[in-house]
């Protein structure tokens, strides 16, 4: 189960989203760039030119490699592109949260966690 | 007297620009736009004014795509007029583009500072601020190289000289760099229209002075308000105020001493003749609510005032200022369309009326 070491250093949020979502969330102050030389950003802007592999790589980096991230926010329409990864992601930390974007309102039917909730209660 | 030979050189371009001005959306057009249910409806309504430019948009385009296409129309018209402009009108139009150029250079400085591939930034640059040598700036790998290329390759060199060193670009917040450049630009432009032999003493100088003075005042007030409570101290803030305009010098001196919103408000109240003195009780009131019935923000009022001045510019004859005024009117139109599109796309119809209709 979740031992203290699992989450006590997790003080940042990360985001994978379209430009507007990322801009807004950065304005809120979640943006963080780690110290050089190994500068790492905790956000990824996805546009229609972004490769799915780049999204997967960012997702992996935020959820597995980095130990300082507590919540990963991802636009639902981007989550759709890597749905298999999100469906199979079951760790408690970091939490992966699907959020709406300006052009794609939130759809509870697609949310991995909510689908799990529904399955559990057989709804 | 100045009208005697104006049409020899500039009659055609003036005619074109006045034609463009007649093509601007009217309040009847806007009221149709606000009735739209989808972006596609909106696109259809914009057909007569923007037809060719919106044709290539995908069904139900994003608001940013729509904004980009409407800007394309302005850019292509501006380029057409510029291509037909000769002599001092050509020079005047170049001056108009310098403002956009400053934004583009600021973008490239940011990119270079963070060691980004600046070539990718070119498509983010404002097309009106595009200059031929811009790709050359992208070759720069560090800020000193960029600084030197800017000095050599761009018309902005005078705005850097004496105000900003290459170390400054590295150390100062990019907003301070941008506003320093803009201050120098406004002063230069003001000087240009008032001293150029073909413009000094003509309606061009008269109308442009009014417009630029307003712009200078607006920036002084905005900078004051927006820097309250930030790391920008009063001394540095003062350096960003343009040294002309209706507020200069007493008003800016008072602004430079303001510690809070009320302080700057008193200054405005005592000095500004444009009816902007009082302003709403809080800055940036666009979100409504706190402002009661008057949901306009100070920034909204500035835009309204700008539109009023721009509209009045067309009542004058033999003046280059109509080109500047037309560009500003069109920019407001693009902002209006984008705003209406956002309200439709995000289903926030109750705020859709927050645009500024000029005609």
């Amino acid at each position: 189960m979740a031992s203290t070491a699992d989450y006590k250093d997790r003080q940042f949020l990360a985001v994978i989203g379209d430009e507007d979502s990322v801009t807004g969330l950065l304005l809120a102050g979640i943006g963080h760039v780690t110290d050089p030389p190994d500068s790492q950003k905790n956000f990824l802007v996805v546009d229609n030119k972004t490769e799915t592999s780049a999204i997967e790589a960012a997702f992996e980096s935020f959820t597995e490699q980095r130990k300082d991230i507590g919540i990963v926010l991802i636009n639902q329409h981007i989550a759709e592109k890597i749905r298999h990864r999100i469906d199979t992601y079951t760790a408690a930390f970091p939490t992966v949260l699907e959020i709406p974007s300006k052009e794609h309102p939130y759809d509870p039917e697609k949310d991995s966690v909510l689908r799990r909730v529904r399955r559990l209660f057989g709804e | 007297m100045e009208g005697l030979f104006f049409n020899v050189n500039n009659g055609y371009t003036e005619g074109i620009v006045r034609g463009y001005r007649n093509g601007l959306l009217t309040s009847a057009n806007y009221s149709n736009l606000t009735q739209c249910e989808t972006i596609d409806d909106l696109k259809l309504q914009l057909g007569p004014a923007y037809g060719d430019f919106l044709g290539s948009l995908a069904p139900n385009p994003s608001t940013s795509a729509l904004a980009a296409k409407t800007t394309d129309k302005l850019v292509s018209e501006f380029r057409y007029v510029r291509a037909n402009a000769t002599g001092s009108l050509g020079k005047f139009m170049d001056y108009v583009t310098y403002g956009y150029m400053i934004d583009n250079v600021a973008l490239l400085i940011t990119g270079t500072l963070h060691e980004r591939d600046t070539r990718e930034l070119l498509e983010r640059c404002h097309p009106l601020g595009w200059f031929e040598t811009m790709p050359v700036l992208c070759v720069a790998t560090n800020i000193e190289e960029l600084y030197n290329s800017v000095l050599i390759e761009t018309p902005l060199a005078p705005y850097f000289k004496g105000s900003l060193s290459h170390q400054d670009l590295d150390e100062l917040n990019i907003e301070i760099v941008r506003n320093t450049l803009y201050k120098n630009y406004l002063e230069d432009f003001y000087q240009f229209v008032n001293s150029h032999p073909e413009m000094a003493g003509t309606p061009t100088a008269e109308v442009m002075s009014e417009i630029l003075e307003f712009e200078a005042d607006r920036r002084a007030i905005n900078i004051t308000l927006n820097s309250l409570g930030t790391e920008l101290n009063k001394g540095d803030r003062k350096k960003l105020y343009p040294s002309f305009g209706k507020l200069y010098p007493e008003g800016t001196l008072m602004l430079s001493r303001a510690d809070d919103f009320e302080g700057s408000r008193t200054t405005r109240a005592s000095l500004m003749p444009q009816g902007l003195g009082g302003g709403p009780s809080g800055p940036g009131n666009m979100a409504g609510g706190s402002g009661g019935h008057d949901s306009r923000s100070l920034e909204d009022m500035f835009y309204e005032k700008e539109m009023q001045i721009s509209k009045n510019a067309f009542t004058r004859q033999f003046t280059f200022a109509i080109v500047y005024a037309w560009v500003k009117l069109r920019e407001q139109e693009i902002r209006n369309i984008t705003w209406i599109a956002e309200c439709i796309a995000q289903n926030q119809k109750e705020r859709i009326g927050n645009y500024i209709s000029v005609f």
């Binding site: 189960m1 979740a2 989450y7 003080q11 940042f12 949020l13 507007d20 807004g24 969330l25 950065l26 304005l27 809120a28 102050g29 943006g31 963080h32 760039v33 919540i71 926010l73 760790a91 408690a92 939490t95 949260l97 959020i99 939130y106 509870p108 966690v113 909510l114 799990r116 909730v117 559990l120 209660f121 | 940013s64 973008l107 940011t110 990119g111 963070h114 983010r124 404002h126 990019i174 907003e175 301070i176 941008r178 506003n179 308000l225 927006n226 820097s227 409570g229 930030t230 790391e231 940036g284 666009m286 979100a287 923000s297 100070l298 920034e299 902002r335 984008t338 705003w339 309200c343 995000q346």
Partner: protein, 238 residues
């Protein structure tokens, strides 16, 4: 389920009957305790899932408001500030802290958001134009992120509880317990049954032996092997 290997050796005495009875009682109490724990957790779990549902809906609204405040920024600035913002981000102002909550012995972590003082990467954004809208948008988004953090806490609790309940409430544990219950009864009954069968078998054997003795005079050791097998069987059972 319970293989013959796990089977407890029971000696058929009154004492061991009592022992078995108390064992059964213990198992029943343990079961009901686990059941209560699982019920408490499940209750909490249902509550959390309900709140997740609500919170996700709330998130939809909050994010919409936030997105719209960004539209106001674009209007006031008259352009796109995205790139500038992305490049200006340095130090996170908005951070997380985790605390724990104890639900029936399970530690559920919850996120708490806080804003660090002093570092504002975007204080001067929109200095010449639109700065007020930028600051307003910043606040709106900060509130939206707070909602997201609340939701993330619920979701983490959901994931952890889901796991815990699976362990406590696992179907095979339930059935294991039921199986054990049945087995105890079965064995106790067997003890009684065997006694009856034993006497019956002993009688039958006695008769068989007598018959066999008659037959033995005619056909050698075949029957003797049979008798041996019977004896062996008895040994295995007791």
């Amino acid at each position: 389920m319970s293989g013959a290997g796990d089977r407890e050796a029971v000696f058929p005495t009154r004492q061991s009957l009592g022992l078995m009875k108390s064992k059964l009682k213990g198992a029943e109490t343990g079961h009901s305790l686990l059941k209560r724990k699982s019920e408490a957790l499940t209750k909490r779990f249902r509550e959390i899932t309900r709140r997740i549902d609500e919170a996700k809906r709330k998130m939809g609204r909050v994010m919409q408001v936030a997105a719209f405040s960004l539209a106001e920024v674009s209007y006031a600035v008259g352009g796109d500030i995205g790139y500038q913002i992305q490049e200006s981000a340095r130090q996170a102002r908005f951070r997380l802290r985790t605390k724990q909550e104890n639900v029936s012995g399970v530690l559920l972590p919850a996120f708490e958001s806080y804003q660090t003082e002093g570092n504002n990467d975007f204080g001067l954004t929109g200095l010449g134009k639109g700065g007020q809208q930028v600051q307003r948008c910043r606040e709106t988004y900060a509130r939206a992120v707070e909602t997201l953090v609340e939701l993330a806490s619920l979701q983490t609790a959901f994931v952890i509880l889901d796991e815990v309940i699976k362990v406590v409430n696992r179907r095979d544990i339930n059935s294991e317990l039921d199986e054990l219950d049945r087995e105890e009864f079965y064995r106790l009954k067997k003890v009684a049954n065997k006694k009856q069968r034993d006497t019956a078998a002993a009688d039958a054997e006695l008769k068989k032996k007598m018959q066999a003795e008659d037959k033995n005079s005619r056909s050698g050791g075949g029957a003797a092997a049979d008798i041996l097998a019977e004896n062996e069987d008895d040994d295995v059972i007791f």
